[in-house]
């Protein structure tokens, strides 16, 4: 199934937010499905900053239980978490 326009937007926004935190240079060549934790060193500050910016940009609340590796392993996974949160 082709992703709809909102989902494409979402991927772009997540990428942009992540780039603001780790630097655009680091994200260059990282595909949406690539494993982030294998490709770069993400520390807890990055992660918490990312959570804050996702909450701010999308108006969602990321709970402690959402903060698990599966939801943050790729740009697509992060966008998926946001989709899920926005449906609620």
């Amino acid at each position: 199934m082709m992703p709809n326009i909102h989902q494409v937007d979402r991927l772009g926004t997540v990428r942009e937010l992540l780039a603001n935190i780790v630097g655009g240079e680091v994200l260059r060549g990282v595909a949406d499905e690539d494993q982030l934790f294998e490709r770069m060193v993400l520390d807890s500050l990055h992660l918490i900053t990312l959570v804050s910016s996702l909450e701010e940009r999308f108006g969602v609340v990321v709970t402690p239980e959402d903060l698990v590796p599966e939801n943050f392993q790729s740009i697509a996974a992060i966008a998926g978490l946001v989709d899920l949160k926005m449906q609620r």
């Binding site: 807890s44 500050l45 910016s53 709970t63 402690p64 590796p69």
Partner: protein, 522 residues
Amino acid sequence: MTRYLIHEALADAAQRWPDKTAARAEGRSLTYGALDLAADRVAGALAAMGVAGGDRVGVYMDKTVEAVAAIYGILRSGAAYVPLDPDAPPARCALIGQDCALAALVADEPRVRALQETGGAVAARGIVCGAEAPSGFETWAAVQAGAQTSPAAGTIDLDLAYILYTSGSTGRPKGVMISHRSALTFVDWACGEFSLQPDDTFSSHAPFHFDLSTFDLFAAASAGGTVTVVPRMTTLFPVRLAQWIASEAITVWYSVPSALSMLVRYGALDEHPIDSIRLLLFAGEVFPNKYLAELMRLAPKARYFNLYGPTETNVCTFHEVLDAPAPGDAPVPIGRPCANTRCLVEDEQGNVVTAAGVEGELIVQGSIVARGYWGDQEKTVERFTAPGTYRTGDVVRWSDQSHGRVLRFVGRRDHMVKSRGYRIELGEIEAALYAHAEVEEAAAVAVPDELLGSRILAFCAAPGALDEAQLHQLCQDRLPRYMVPERIATLRRLPRTPNGKVDRTHLLQEATRLAVSSTRSP
């Protein structure tokens, strides 16, 4: 039996409990017997490569059981180990390797290559964890399959056990030289004070290049307990960390406060209790009262200790937190000196002050103190004013409490700020900001100013929006007028250094951008 060297506990434990788990990392573990043997092979291989007593050997690898064995093997060879930050740029590690003239290196294969690619001349021999060894190196597997055993190295307690590099004010890393005697003074004190037992399971949260790790490694072995490395991914996800603590049945935890603040804030600890912990130690920065109190409520079975000491003194004072502090209280004391350690408070005129409440620089004396900075005689004599004496640059004061006299940390000597002639403690401003219910993190900084001495700005972080005017009012309600920050910027999170401390250098840059210099005013 009296021990003189930091690694002697391993051989003792291997004799007494050969089948007991010594170290666990990423799902793999080594018994004391296996660790002892692996360390012996490393020591033997290093000796065969020409490593001799007094040499330095780098450890540049992930926190694996091999890294633990490498550390013991290096010590057994008579050399000092130099842990290199596996996440730091290779160029910085090369700089450190050159600074202390590493004789050899134990490293992961990609990291050896990265180091060699920097072009810096760093240790052309050593042991590599990987399938292929570059020229001059042997693979870990070959070393372990060999029959080399470590010759008696003739090490004495005044020899160096390790060198820990910390960031230097001039931008060049400083190598803090810790002798066996210094390290063992700390470890022996810790084992006695905390009654560490063979059935204790120790977390290893801090990286090996950070001084908190020496407690995890050597106190665990000294007690005959098990040290368990927190997996990297687990450190990032607080709920996972809470679950990990429970599944590993950690009994002794030691970390920087910010890791614990994260656990309180995002760990859902009421649903994921961490009540296996009997001893909860923290050090490295001030633990915000609101998170400490919340942690004490969520994990009430543990005993809580604030440990204090710059890398140059291991840990030199300690304080048991018996009652949860209230948000507006002063930070918990740094406490009283460890065994065989003397703390002197010296005022600006150079007089030792003993009266409670008088501020002065903390000077630490005893066998717990480091030997100086590697290759930097100038800095060494400036801070290590006599053998076994270190001027911390930290301002403290004695405080009389019902159960005795304790030291309270006031601030950095070089963070002591004057504005318009008034003396200002930045920590006091931060404490005022923390009184706001929504504020999760606060930091005040002083921007040097030609006319005023300095201008005070503050940064606050909160999950929701904060009203700057309201924070300003809060400060005005609590602080003398001259201490009220001129701007209070709000952020989602305060920036942190790789070691987890609030990145004040970064904040100061931001503050400098925000502050309007008085000399530019009309």
